[in-house]
Amino acid sequence: MEGTSRIVRVVEVKKDFPMGKGVIRVLKGIDLSILAGEYISIMGPSGSGKSTLFNMIGGLDKPSSGAVYIDEVDIAQLDAYELAWLRCRKIGYIFQTFNIIQVMTALENVTLPMVFAGVSPMDATKKGMELLDMVGLKERFNHKPSELSGGQQQRVAVARALANDPSIILADEPTGNLDVTTGGEIIDLLKMLSIEKRVTVISATHDFKMLNVSDRVVWVEDGRIDRIENRDELSISMGEIGER
C-alpha cells in the first residue's frame, strides 16, 4: 500500500472515565496508523476498550490525553460545526444496535445525512434508492424499521453510512446482534464496499469471521494494543482459533 496516505492516526491516546472518587483507566496509550482504503479490524474481548477507541476515532468522544488525527487534522481542534461536518461527510457510522431512526422509513433514514449535507431532495432520493438497491433493499424503501429484520436494519445502516460518500466507515460490532448468516452477509457487504468504493473500513468486533476479510487486525487487550497482524500473518492465529 505504498503511496497511500494515513487517513487516521491515533497518537498516545489515553482515556479515563470518572468512577466514584477515582478514575477507571480504559485506554492506556494507543498508537495506531490506518492507511486510506484499508480494512481494519479491532479485535479484543468484551470490555477491552474497543468501543471507547471507536468513539475516539469517530470524534464522538474526546481522549483524556493524546490525539486523533483524521487526514492529519487533530479532531480535538475542530469546533462544533467542523465536527458536525466531519461526522456528516467524512465518516459513516455503523453500530451494533443498528440505530435506525424509528419514526423514519428506510429511505428517509438513508437520505437524512444527505439532507444535513445540503443535497437537494431529488438527488438525495435518487442516491438513497441506489444505495438501498446496493444493499438489496430497494423494494423495502418505504418500510419502517419495525417492519424490517435485524439484518435488514443493519443493511439500511450500511446504506445510510455511505450516503455522503465518506472516506471512512466506522463499525462497532456490526454483526454483534445478528445471527451467523446475516452477520456474514454484512461482513461481505463491508468488504465489497472497501474494494469497490475504496472506503477505509474500521470495525471493532469479536466476530472471527471478520478476520478473513481484514487487511490488518489490531488485537486490543485491556486498553492496550497487544499486537497488529497483517493478513498474511493471520493464518497462524486463524489456525489457533480453528483448533480451539
Binding site: L60, E72, Y81, W85, C88, V103, F116
Partner: protein
C-alpha cells in the same frame, strides 16, 4: 479526495462545510415524530387542553357578562349586580386569577415532566442524528417545532372546549336571550389569545428538556438505556 489541512484553508473552506437542515424538512420530521408517538403526544396535550380550556372559559365568561351588563334591558342584570364584583368580572377576581395562574403553572410543570420523559426515550435517536451530522440547534429546533404544533392543537381543542362550556353554561343560566348580546369578535379574539398562550406554554415547557437533549454528546446519548 479533498484535503483539509491548514487553518487558513479550513477557514476559507468553512462556507462549503456547512451542515444544514431546511426549515420545511424540520417541520416534516417533527410531524412524523408527533404522529409516531401519538399516545405520548396525547398525554402532553391533555394538561394543555385542560389549562387552556379553563383560561378560555374564564375569559369568555367575562365577555358574556360584560355583554349582558352593557345591554340595559337584559333580564338577568339585577341578579348579577346582587352577586357582586367577582361575578361581574371573573377575570379580575383575585381568587379566580390565582386559580387561573395555578392551573397554567401546573400545566407547564406537567409539560416539562412529560417532555423530559419523552426526551429520555429519544436519547438514542438524538445521538444517532448527531452522528449523522446534526448540530445542537437542529435538535433544539425539532423539539421547538414539535412543541409549537402540539401547542396549536392542544390550545385549539382547549379554547373550543372552554368557549363551548362557557356558552352552554351561560345559556343555561340566562336563557337563549343571551345570543342577542354576545360580542362574537371578542370571543374569536379570546380564542386567538388562548391559542397563543397555549403555544407559549407548550414551548416554555419543552425548552429545558430540549436544551438538555440538544447539548448532549453523541456517546452520552447512545449509552445507557438499551
Amino acid at each position: 479526495m479533498m484535503s483539509w489541512n491548514g487553518k487558513k484553508e479550513r477557514r476559507h473552506l468553512r462556507s462549503g462545510r456547512q451542515v444544514t437542515l431546511p426549515f420545511l424538512k424540520s417541520v416534516e420530521i417533527a410531524v412524523k415524530s408527533i404522529r409516531a408517538r401519538f399516545f405520548r403526544s396525547f398525554i402532553t396535550l391533555l394538561s394543555l387542553v385542560l389549562a387552556i380550556s379553563f383560561y378560555s372559559y374564564v375569559s369568555v365568561n367575562t365577555i358574556l357578562l360584560q355583554g349582558i351588563l352593557l345591554s340595559d334591558d337584559f333580564p338577568g342584570v339585577e341578579r348579577l349586580v346582587q352577586e357582586g364584583d367577582g361575578a361581574l368580572d371573573p377575570a379580575n377576581d383575585p381568587k379566580q386569577r390565582w386559580i387561573l395562574f395555578l392551573s397554567l403553572l401546573v400545566c407547564v410543570v406537567g409539560i416539562v415532566n412529560t417532555q423530559l420523559m419523552a426526551v429520555t426515550e429519544r436519547f438514542r435517536e438524538i445521538g444517532t442524528m448527531k452522528c449523522l451530522g446534526a448540530l445542537d440547534r437542529f435538535i433544539l429546533r425539532l423539539f421547538l417545532i414539535e412543541a409549537t404544533i402540539q401547542g396549536v392543537i392542544g390550545a385549539a381543542a382547549g379554547a373550543l372546549l372552554g368557549t363551548l362550556v362557557s356558552l352552554l353554561w351561560s345559556v343555561a343560566r340566562f336563557g337563549s336571550h343571551l345570543f342577542m348580546v354576545i360580542s362574537w369578535p371578542d370571543i374569536a379574539l379570546s380564542m386567538v389569545w388562548a391559542m397563543g398562550l397555549g403555544c407559549l406554554l407548550s414551548v416554555i415547557g419543552v425548552l429545558y428538556p430540549a436544551l438538555v437533549a440538544a447539548r448532549m454528546q453523541p456517546v452520552e446519548a447512545m449509552r445507557g438505556r438499551e
